[in-house]
Symmetry: C2
Subunit: 338 residues, 2 copies
Amino acid sequence: MKKVTMADVAKLANVSKSTVSQYLNKRYEYMSEETRKRIARAIEELGYQPNIIARSLKQKTTMTIGVIVFNLLHMLTTQVLHAIEEACQERGFHVIVSNSDDDPEKEKKYIEMLRAKQVDGLIIFPTGKNADVYQKMTEERFPLVFVDRMVPGVKADAVLLDNQKAAALAVEYFAERGYERIGVVAPPPVSHIIPRMERIEGFRQALAKKGLPVVDDYFITTEIPRIQKELTRLFASGRLPEALFAINDLTLMEVLYFVKGNHIKIPDELAIISIDDVPFAHVYTPTLTTIAQPTFAMGKKAAERLFLQIAKKSEHQPQVFRFSPTFIERGSAKEKTS
Amino acid sequence: MKKVTMADVAKLANVSKSTVSQYLNKRYEYMSEETRKRIARAIEELGYQPNIIARSLKQKTTMTIGVIVFNLLHMLTTQVLHAIEEACQERGFHVIVSNSDDDPEKEKKYIEMLRAKQVDGLIIFPTGKNADVYQKMTEERFPLVFVDRMVPGVKADAVLLDNQKAAALAVEYFAERGYERIGVVAPPPVSHIIPRMERIEGFRQALAKKGLPVVDDYFITTEIPRIQKELTRLFASGRLPEALFAINDLTLMEVLYFVKGNHIKIPDELAIISIDDVPFAHVYTPTLTTIAQPTFAMGKKAAERLFLQIAKKSEHQPQVFRFSPTFIERGSAKEKTS
DNA sequence: TTGTATGCGTTATCAA
DNA sequence: TTGATAACGCATACAA
């Protein structure tokens, strides 16, 4: 119950604390076999566990990083987090996770608290609205990596999807199969949420590049809870789209719900492609053609970049990493028949 | 860049460290308005951030807890974790998450490391195979809460589903609608994975209680990758089940995949009920009847119990909390027609 | 090969 | 009201 410290071990082993310390740090070189054993025994006997907090205070490194996400429940988050945790595990780091809930205030508080806790670095899925806070960290050369979203103007490492390419992939696939009236479903574009912007804009550009009509009515960009309504309105208007591009799993769910409620046949009446490879894509009917993010690779890269910064704080060149999406052809978009 | 400490603030404000400390801990009572302001200004000017590590060393509390899960990617894990994080947030705690990957060795290492890091408590989704380690913690009265699985013989708080009831819910629903040949799909029952045992056994007992035949062939209890094969064998045998109970989301996916591959009509040819309310349940065709776990409530309870233990380590009575599942009636099981 | 002394940044105890 | 001073548990020069 009462904590046993190095001093206790030292006393029992009849050596000084420093010797025990040496032992713990595996600097056996100048230690007699004899004392080594005595110390080992003493540790065993007392059930001694080093206090890492004390060590951290001295060494100015906690071997823990912080991860602040804007939505812990999101699939992408979970998967990237998993990869981060694994990478940390390999290097003996621990990760403190915090959910900002997409609230900039919370995010800011978390950043401060985690830094007060002396984390060695931070991986942030940013709300995007604390540019000044982020900026200050980069200026202080505090190890920092953004994931999923990046923040314009802040020179920091960032790991994200090549969103433009993802949108292009969808459009090209549709175009090559004869689809012309293609719509997109997304939450409202806002300047600080980069992937959303890039996907919607990428979609628009891809359309133009393929010589396809860009019709405003086919841009359903509204809050998730309003998507049903907008979809209903669009389909009631008569000017039906032949295909829909859902920019993420959340919007996909809305589209599927709508489709189901209105008995729309996929892919014959409406083709669908979405970003995020949802786990039920292959059991759905029809199977869903999706564009997957390499979540694991992204998480791993984020962790690696952070470790790099931690290792040599000084000459680190921030870089933005764009990960290529993977097109997974399944059954929700086919050759156009009608 | 160079860390600014309390000493720096003290010097600039022309007071002693102790006074600054008082200030930081909001013990203004015996402090002149004057000094208070001077300190505030100094802190502001230097951009001082207290070092929580140092404080922890002194106070023997880190305000951080550890959460060790056996599968970070599992939906249940994510949701419970979310609730835990939220509860911690409210109390100013941080959470370190670690993935044991269902490997007892890893789990053990994590427990040791997190304790070395002086976490104030541990919430564990246990592999179940480190009974001695768990036991030692309870003996030392180290704050500990199990989630999802519990460990027989270890007297600790545990938060889990009323699995027996969940199984009964499914069986009763089937029974009342005229189903008789009911099967279950699960990974192999192993004694240290309590929920699995309870669900399978609960299923068996519910069957008996309803006077329904318990036929061994209808117990598909094998490793996930082998489920397809077993299902194929069963359906080729001629003795078809009319309904299937999938004990979790993973097995449900296997059932759905099988059903799709063999063009089996749900619910007419085969009714399905599963534990875990998968997010696509309401967009699938037919919609999926599921039995939901109150994941959020479970996470919250786990955190609360842990805080309770942290607050008064001594007279804490370990307790097992059984959470009632919620039956969500949708379309994958209906009145039997044939 | 091992021990002594000092410091890491706080908080706590006790004087002043 | 404020200030010395001693912890907290460990690591590290330096001495022995």
